[in-house]
Amino acid sequence: MARYAMVIDLDRCTGCRACMEACKVENNTPQAHFWMYVFRFEEGEYPNTRVWFMPRPCMHCDNAPCVKVCPVGARYKRPDGLVATDFDRCIGCRYCEVACPYGVNYFNWKKPERNHYIDWTDREAGAVLDPVTNGAVPPYKNPDLEKPYGPERRRIAGGGHLKGVIEKCTFCVHRVERGQQPACVANCPLYALHFGDLDDPGSRVSQLLRRRPHFRLLEEAGTQPRVYYLGGKPPGEESRQIEAVRARV
């Protein structure tokens, strides 16, 4: 059984947020949902200013507070390390969300057909688009998200973003089980993101972690994250976020 982890090289990140967009398109996430988010930081005072960037996926913790608190086992830890959300099981209590120290959970506040960027139910637009899209919402809807995954055969890839259930980064389970990299990793223009199996000493992630010093976010919280950062340092009180994305639904 693989032990998946993500390694993020802060020395390479240009803060372009392409990973955020790759995630959004791959997973058709609703507006203002950022399963992957990129912080942009500024430190120090002119002219001794420093600018740096930090991507923030779900940490897929080994000791995940969200898994512990889930009252119905909708949020669960897979043997391969992925922290999954069964959207058929979730009752929408958002306990996982308040329990998570990293703020990676997003709740479907709206109905799916109202939850996307453009009102795809708009009659005029729909009329023209339907012949191509067969009424899919959004038109670039990814069918893989509906399917069940893992030996447990549970639907954990986000699906149609059902109203009233919680969601978060799935490490693109639908791609990983197909042997692909998560969308953000695959797309990173600077190859700052890496994904792989810690049990395989030959994997890129294992090599990087052997070769270079690294840290994990909020390790002191005992969550044992599966996301490692190379270079740089964790953000502190001195790190001012600039160009924050404040999107609300």
Binding site: R89, I91, Y95, G103
Partner: protein, 428 residues
């Protein structure tokens, strides 16, 4: 020959015009709540002021959870008083024990109802909680202990305690006779039955008290166990919850007792003695809670880690200062009121009631302050601080719940004596 039996006292079965008006009013309030709930069910929780923690800069839990905690808290007082009355033989408080028990049962039902609208999938919530509930989740304790243990135990206690009066009521012919008979379930008041009931209720009380503590503690754990939420993660949560529960519960009981005393003119049963006792109980609990708050404040200001500090800043001086200081003021006032009466040993009903009201105002405020700030200002990663202000939907649903509770209370008091029937006249 049949002795002429007087009608059941305490306004049972008598409906004045004013009462009908009150009931209609309550029904209107409930209807409002139902409409709000309908809007939410169709549109989703987007109609509330709740939003995601983190980039969305919101609060995932709000009014619903705060009032759920509040209602569970209120339920504390009822059954405790009843149990204490039984265990410590505080006979002078027997008069309020039924009111207390009823308060417990109704507020527990309201608590259950106030969680449902918070769920994104209420129907799943009802089914899946019974189907998949996990003990690892603090919800499990709240859910099983409170609903199953606590509510059911109270019902049992309530039922057994009411049999005697039911039997008495059953003597009168009337539309509800079948109901009284059913409740009395063959109670005749023989010495043997009384002795049986005594023993049963004694053990029941003993069994209920620990369940009670567990239930309220687990509710505290729901927050206290969250390492990811500065301001929540604390061993103090559980005990503090129990105490604040007492404060709000006893407070509300005082208010209800006073109302009943006024409406039913039951001055002979609800004596100043009763209120003095409740008042003192409230004073002690408030004092204990104030102590908790001081400890809390010291820890938060003396050597708080930066994240804790951010929250306390928001609470003491920032966005939430208004709510916080109002609650503090209310608590202090409640305490001072009671303490002065206690020292002088001269009690005034109005003052005690005022204290009860203040205590509940403070309780509601504190519940909000426990739930919200840690979400809006407790981010461990440098997200910008969030905001939360409830919408009409949330207020509507909560009001509706209060309406429902009051209605249940009123209706019950009209079909069953809300105060234990006096000893005399038992044998008619």
């Amino acid at each position: 020959m049949v002795t002429q039996v007087q009608p059941i006292p305490y306004g049972v079965g008598r409906f004045s015009a004013a009462l009908v008006l009150v009931i209609l009013l309550l029904l209107a309030v409930i209807a409002g709540g139902v409409y709000a709930l309908y809007t939410q069910l169709t549109e989703g929780l987007v109609v509330t002021g709740l939003r995601d923690i983190g980039t969305m800069g919101g609060s995932a839990w709000g009014l619903y959870i705060a009032f759920d905690v509040y209602f569970v808290g209120v339920s504390f007082a009822g059954i405790t008083t009843a149990a204490l009355v039984r265990i410590l033989n505080l006979h002078h408080l027997r008069a309020v024990s039924r009111m207390a028990e009823l308060l417990t049962i109704i507020s527990l039902i309201l608590a259950a109802f106030s969680v449902l609208p918070d769920l994104g999938q209420p129907l799943r919530g009802i089914i899946y909680l019974f189907k998949y509930a996990r003990p690892q989740s603090p919800f499990f304790g709240t859910f099983t202990m409170v609903i199953a243990g606590y509510l059911f135990a109270s019902l049992v206690y309530f039922f057994l305690d009411g049999r005697r009066d039911a039997a008495l009521c059953a003597r009168r012919a009337g539309r509800l006779q079948w109901f009284y008979r059913l409740w009395a379930s063959g109670y005749r008041g023989t010495a043997e039955e009384r002795e049986r009931h005594d023993r049963a209720s004694f053990w029941l009380s003993l069994a209920i008290l620990p369940v009670l503590v567990i239930a309220h503690s687990t509710l505290g754990f729901v927050f206290g166990l969250q390492v990811g939420r500065p301001g929540w993660f604390s061993a103090l949560q559980a005990p503090a919850f129990v105490i604040l529960a007492g404060v709000s519960g006893v407070g509300l009981l005082i208010v209800i007792a006073a109302i009943v005393r006024r409406v039913l003119g039951a001055h002979d049963r609800l004596t100043p003695e009763v209120f003095r006792w409740l008042g003192n109980m409230l004073m002690v609990l408030v004092a204990a809670y104030l102590y908790f708050m001081v400890v809390d404040w010291l820890t938060a200001t003396y050597a708080a880690p930066s994240h804790e500090a951010r929250i306390s800043r928001a609470i003491y001086f920032g966005r939430y200062a208004g709510v916080y200081w109002t609650s503090v003021a209310a608590l202090v006032a409640a305490f001072v009121l009671q303490f002065r009466q206690f020292m002088r040993q001269r009690y005034e009903l109005s003052r005690i009631v005022l204290a009860g009201v203040l205590a509940n105002v403070a309780a509601v405020g504190k519940r909000m302050l426990i739930v919200v700030p840690s979400q809006t200002h407790g981010a461990l990663l440098p997200y910008p601080p969030g905001t939360y202000s409830p919408t009409w939907v949330e207020y509507g649903i909560i009001l509706g719940l209060f309406g429902l509770g009051t209605l249940m209370y009123v209706v019950f008091s009209k079909i069953f004596p809300i105060i234990e029937l006096p000893e005399e006249g038992v044998e008619g």
